[in-house]
Subunit: 130 residues, 2 copies
Amino acid sequence: MADTSKALRNTKQRKYMLELLKSTKQHPNAFWLYENMLGAFPRLSLSTVYRNLGILESQGLVQRLSCSGSFDRYDADISVHSHFYCKECRKVYDVDSAFEKMAVSNIECGGHRPESCQITFMGTCMQCLS
Amino acid sequence: MADTSKALRNTKQRKYMLELLKSTKQHPNAFWLYENMLGAFPRLSLSTVYRNLGILESQGLVQRLSCSGSFDRYDADISVHSHFYCKECRKVYDVDSAFEKMAVSNIECGGHRPESCQITFMGTCMQCLS
DNA sequence: TTAATTGCAAACGGTTTGCCACGTT
DNA sequence: AACGTGGCAAACCGTTTGCAATTAA
């Protein structure tokens, strides 16, 4: 998707986006980013957000989480960790269990060569339980 | 999505779909199912496929796999197992590692209540390696 | 200067929905 | 007969793309 032969420029928009992503513990989607950048960039367009998300992802600065059925979410925390998806409120939480380390270091993958691993728990979150 | 108060009927189309899903080791998307049912149901429409996938999913007979960026895939193997997603050929493979059993039985999930768990490895598959 | 990037608008593609006829129970 | 379901077409919505103007290097 991103052409690595290009000399990337450090755009205000892209810089701002990455900071925004790093500053939140949420796992925003493209539209959330768009809305939260409008203050700083009143003429911002959604396509810019999408294009920059693609660039950041291909640079490995951002992780794309595909949440079943709906829109993708993005996470600037690129450390190895799992996610918990609440089917009630649709929020995504970080989960730090012991499995993902084992899973990622696992090379017993039926002969395939894994590069990364996403562990997603699904259920009801703490907040929705009460 | 599916109304559980309804008395579901056993339609030819739905029965056939489930058999088709069970008969393949692939992880088909809606369109694959559509194409492979056209022989038996020449007037079949895509929306029927989608509606029945929703019903089967809510009955727990089928698992929905969300593959980043593109379309969803479905799996009639509802046993606990992981998936390997090849970024080259975009195929999805079943992987039977030891982790998922541990992961699903894990209740140390930051206070949330997990009901299921999807482990997805991403990388290059055996076939594309050679 | 020049090539990457932006904003805009239109296209795209997978999925959902409204409607009415059909077929299972 | 009653009502869940199918087919059809249009709507939906998140995402991508073409293009001319802008801007970082």
